[in-house]
């Protein structure tokens, strides 16, 4: 931190506002990244996510076997040929787990982004205008919060038919109220600050104060909320697949794989259930590690 800058008698060369602003932002971002990469939890989280993203992108090109059409005889336990064993149709579980990240890594982030966008907007409006607007919106938000996410999603998907688009929408909309509450409380403390009064004294509109003065300062909590929601979205999407209303066979999706194989656990066939389940868990934990480090760094 440049705490003390002695006033220099010579004026520094005039920098144009645009370049200085950009360099300032870049500098702040570099600083943020520098602090982040010194946290082991952040690095572990990122490493896990990168592994799954690489698997999703490269997919069949790096899997040892064809995840869809390679049949090697049902329910073979893990061996050197099939590290994770084979599933009930004789497909290689490792190959299917590797490509299984694909759908969830598209659907979950989209749902999280939708939820955070709608939620932040609501939160900003509720926090800034307070009064009647806040009362009405808060009650609606609370009503939404009372709904169990999975049940509502299940019903909607049954009624509208299961498709990835509907999953994104349903999960996104159900997440919005939770985000709205977080953003609202951040805005409430922000609007107490004198710079908001100063803006009003020079006659700024509410929209300007909200979007240009307050929003950049609540971006931190919003970004944290985004990563947290991303974790929950993975979990929710996997659950919906497990319940059979998300992605449909023959998708190698993790949640779907678990749902199709878990009945065989009692027969001692644990591998086609365990490995996709671990994949889900690792992704959720990784995202949460990233969220935690972001939160603590931004709060410092």
């Amino acid at each position: 931190m440049v705490e003390s800058i002695a006033p220099s008698p010579l004026p520094a060369p005039v920098a144009t506002p645009t370049t200085s602003t950009i360099s300032e932002r870049a500098r702040a971002r570099r600083e943020l990244i520098r602090v982040l990469v010194r946290r082991p939890s952040f690095l572990i989280g990122i490493a896990v996510i990168v592994v799954w993203v690489v698997c999703a992108i490269l997919g069949e090109r790096i899997t040892p076997y064809d995840p869809f059409n390679g049949f090697f005889g049902g329910h073979k336990p893990p061996s050197t040929a099939h590290l994770f064993g084979t599933d009930r149709l004789g497909r290689d579980v490792l190959s299917r787990v590797m490509v299984g990240s694909r759908d969830v890594l598209i659907v979950a982030p989209l749902a999280a982004i939708l939820g955070v966008t709608v939620g932040s907007f609501l939160g900003l409006v509720m926090g800034y205008y307070r009064g009647f607007v806040d009362d009405v919106l808060s009650r609606i938000v609370e009503a939404f919060l009372a709904l169990p996410v999975i049940l509502v999603a299940l019903l909607t998907l049954v009624v509208l038919g299961s498709s990835s688009v509907v999953v994104v929408f349903v999960v996104g909309i159900l997440f919005a109220p939770i985000v709205a509450r977080t953003v609202r409380s951040a805005v409430l403390s922000e609007r107490q600050l004198d710079y908001v009064t100063a803006a009003k004294l020079r006659g700024e509109s509410g929209l300007f104060i909200l979007s240009r003065e307050i929003f950049p300062n609540v971006l931190g909590p919003t970004v944290v909320e985004l990563t947290v929601r991303f974790g929950y979205a993975i979990f929710t999407v996997a659950t919906l697949s497990f319940l059979g209303v998300g992605l449909q066979p023959p998708s190698p999706d993790w949640g779907l794989s678990v749902s199709q194989e878990y009945a065989n656990m009692v027969a001692g066939v644990w591998w086609p259930t365990l490995f996709p389940a671990l994949a889900i868990a690792s992704t959720v934990v990784a995202v949460n590690l990233i969220a935690d480090s972001l939160q603590s760094v931004l709060n410092e």
Partner: protein
């Protein structure tokens, strides 16, 4: 290294606290940054020692080190801290715990945060005794005694309250009671009165002084307010960049400073009734070096006007001055060369045109069905180029008045606020741009007042554009002009607020207020968050700007020195009412309203000026339930029974331009106050009204 040379340490008596050549670093990003560079001092039992210096000089670190309470990255790299002969730097965690339990106590700046909000006060005090191994009954008895000892009149009742139901002064008394429970050998006070009003501050300081005599504890006091140090301390150490540069008896150091830094600090204070029309305040150019900067020779060399080659190459030795005073300076003999800024002539303000008039401005807040009048029929006027100082305890309505004028709050019906004889709209939002432009504000805390996401240039440019309607290049020119006026460089403008020091931030905030060439600037405690040397620079800038632009200031400040320096006229407020208005001279020289008299007498003074003392008991009553008659009657030492609590005195002109709201005739006041001054009287609130006020205070807060 210099330990042996420091006279106070060389004496053989066992000191209650003895810090020897203490070095301490904070580990920041793996690199140790030295914060204390060989601090040596001692405090004897029954003595109080004050550490002064700008923020960041290491005084709080020293205080916390004395009870070994350091942040995780704080590492003691050398030296010893002896409390009653035991070296606490060598203790293990359990020993430190026992040491803090039995021998050391601390009183913090914010008593509200030092008490547990979910537990009643009683059990918290009792706990301080049970932890010492006392039984429940005995602890309870002792707790009540402890509360009585800190002059809480009704301890049984106070013990039943939660901390938030007590006023700040009461809370601090409770914290002191807890701190004294173990009968500590060492009592560390970290800015104990900073959040309190002057009247309350005075009584807490009195209390600490009495208790100290009683307990014979060594007191280490950290305060940025030199007046507080002067009032309370026997000895004082002046710290700069992690080193004590001068030490001596408080009176000697403040009267006869022997280090350029001490001299600079003292001269930057508005003292001895100096006014802006007489001369600018001295400032200390530059800033404290960043922590971790290597300072092998004199720590003050970069800012010292006397610094020469010797100072840059040889570390100054400890020079004894005599009378227990010493300094670390090569050029003590040349201190006389440090001149104060020359007086300026022809700055006596001539009253300009009337620009703002308030008549009958009231403001009532509605809180859960109750009417809380924050302003009651306030009438004031303001002229071009004039500074009107608003003083009064917190809760007196100063800030509400400022907000009402600015249109942040709208007044009750019937109020009339006129700018140049045109009525102003109640709400800022409904005022035309010209009116918004005419009135701007400087806030107390620049961290809150400046958007941390914006650069200085963005902040100024937006205000210029919004208030003047300029665009493009013209905006940039105006921004550069403003920056030049406030001595901000282009480089400062390209930084975000958090990268600037406190003084630079406040200058940026002032520049923003001046963006549209305002007629009136409301300044709410503009320097109270700043160090004294920075305060001096800001006050100089404010008076310079005023002289040039003929702007009027409405200055709110609890620091009467600041008000006296800057204000041409002063209005004293109490419970939302104006008690006295008059020219700066007439308010400071009297005769005064008894409330003003009490305020003036409460201020801890660096110069130890002899003023008669008025001790007000209790605190400002709740505005929701103001006393009948004169609202000050419950605390007034000159109350006339049977009149003051029945009839509210009108605000009348007692001398030309000097208005007062008091039943006592002005000549009588003049006589009484002259007598009190002559005989050095100590006046207190009559006991019966004090009891009534105290009871009311406790009940209302509940």
């Amino acid at each position: 290294m210099n330990a042996a040379a420091v006279p106070s340490v060389a004496t053989g008596t066992k000191a209650a606290l003895r810090v020897e050549d203490l070095s301490l670093s904070y580990i920041v990003r793996g690199i140790p940054r030295p914060v204390l560079r060989g601090v040596t001092f001692e405090v004897k039992a029954g003595e109080s020692y004050g550490l002064v210096g700008e923020s960041g000089c290491g005084k709080s670190t020293t205080a916390y080190a004395a009870v070994r309470y350091l942040p995780r990255n704080g590492v003691i790299t050398g030296g010893r801290i002896l409390v009653d002969g035991d070296d606490i730097t060598k203790m293990n965690d359990e020993q430190v715990r026992l040491f803090r339990m039995r021998h050391a106590s601390m009183v913090y700046q914010d008593p509200g945060a030092a008490l547990n909000p979910t537990t009643k006060v009683g059990p918290q005090v009792v706990e301080a005794f049970t932890i010492l191994g006392q039984g429940k009954r005995q602890a309870e008895e002792n707790a009540l005694k402890a509360l009585r000892r800190v002059q809480i009149a009704d301890p049984e009742r106070v013990a039943q309250r939660y901390p938030h139901q007590l006023s700040g002064g009461m809370q601090q008394r409770v914290v002191i009671a807890i701190a004294l429970a173990s009968d500590p050998k060492l009592l560390v006070l970290d800015e104990p009165t900073t959040g309190l009003d002057a009247t309350v501050e005075a009584s807490v300081l009195d209390l600490v002084r009495n208790l100290q005599a009683e307990t014979n504890a060594a007191v280490l006091l950290i305060a940025h307010n030199l007046g507080v140090i002067r009032t309370l301390c026997d000895r004082v150490g002046v710290m700069y960049a992690g080193k004590i540069v001068e030490e001596g008896d408080a009176a000697t150091v403040f009267e006869n400073p022997q280090h350029p830094y001490t001299l600079g600090l003292l001269r930057s204070l508005p003292r001895r009734g100096i006014r802006k029309s007489q001369r600018p305040l001295s400032t200390i150019p530059g800033n404290l070096p960043q922590i971790g900067t290597p300072l092998p020779t004199c720590v003050y060399v970069d800012r010292c006007p006397l610094a020469d080659e010797l100072c840059r190459t040889v570390e100054p030795p400890v020079v004894e001055v005599g009378g227990g005073q010493w300094t670390r300076c090569h050029h003590r003999d040349r201190l006389g060369q440090l001149a104060e800024p020359p007086p300026v002539g022809g700055r006596e303000a001539t009253l300009g045109e009337l620009n703002l008039t308030l008549s009958n401005v009231s403001k009532t807040f509605h809180q859960s069905g109750h009417d809380v009048p924050a302003l009651v029929k306030v009438s004031l006027d303001l002229h071009d180029g004039e500074t009107l100082g608003l003083v009064g305890e917190s809760g007196s309505g100063k800030s509400t008045l400022a907000k009402t004028i600015l249109g942040i709050e709208s007044p009750d019906a019937g109020a009339d606020i006129e700018l140049d004889e045109r009525a102003l709209a109640a709400k800022a939002a409904s005022r035309p741009t010209a009116d918004k432009r005419s009135m701007q504000m400087v806030f107390q805390n620049p961290d809150s007042a400046l958007n941390r996401g914006w650069t200085g240039r963005q902040i100024l440019a937006r205000s210029v554009h919004k208030l003047t309607g300029l665009r493009g290049r013209a905006v940039n020119e105006r921004v550069d002009q403003l920056a030049a006026d406030l001595r901000l460089t282009q480089r400062h403008l390209d930084l975000k607020p958090r990268q600037l020091s406190g003084g630079l931030k406040q200058r940026l905030a002032i520049a923003r207020a001046f963006a549209g060439d305002p007629r009136i600037v409301v300044a709410d405690e503009p320097t109270s968050a700043l160090d004294v040397s920075v305060q001096a620079a800001i006050l100089n800038l404010l008076s310079e700007l005023q002289l040039r632009s003929k702007t009027s200031y409405l200055l709110i400040s609890h620091d009467l020195g600041v008000v006296r320096y800057l204000a041409d006229r002063i209005a004293v407020m109490y419970l939302g009412r104006i008690m006295e208005v008059g020219s700066s001279e007439s308010v400071f020289n009297g005769p005064n309203h008894p409330y003003t008299e009490a305020l003036l007498s409460a201020v801890p003074n660096v110069d130890a000026e002899d003023r008669h003392r008025i001790l007000l008991s209790g605190e400002i009553p709740s505005p929701a339930n103001p006393p009948t008659g004169c609202v000050f009657n419950t605390r007034c030492p000159r109350v006339i029974r049977g009149l003051c609590e029945v009839v509210e005195p009108p605000l009348v002109e007692v001398e030309p331009g000097h208005l007062m709201s008091c039943h006592i005739p002005v000549d009588e006041l003049r006589r009484l106050q002259a007598k009190a001054e002559r005989e050095d009287l100590v006046l207190t609130t009559p006991p019966e009204s004090a009891a009534a006020a105290a009871a009311q205070g406790v009940d209302e807060l509940a």
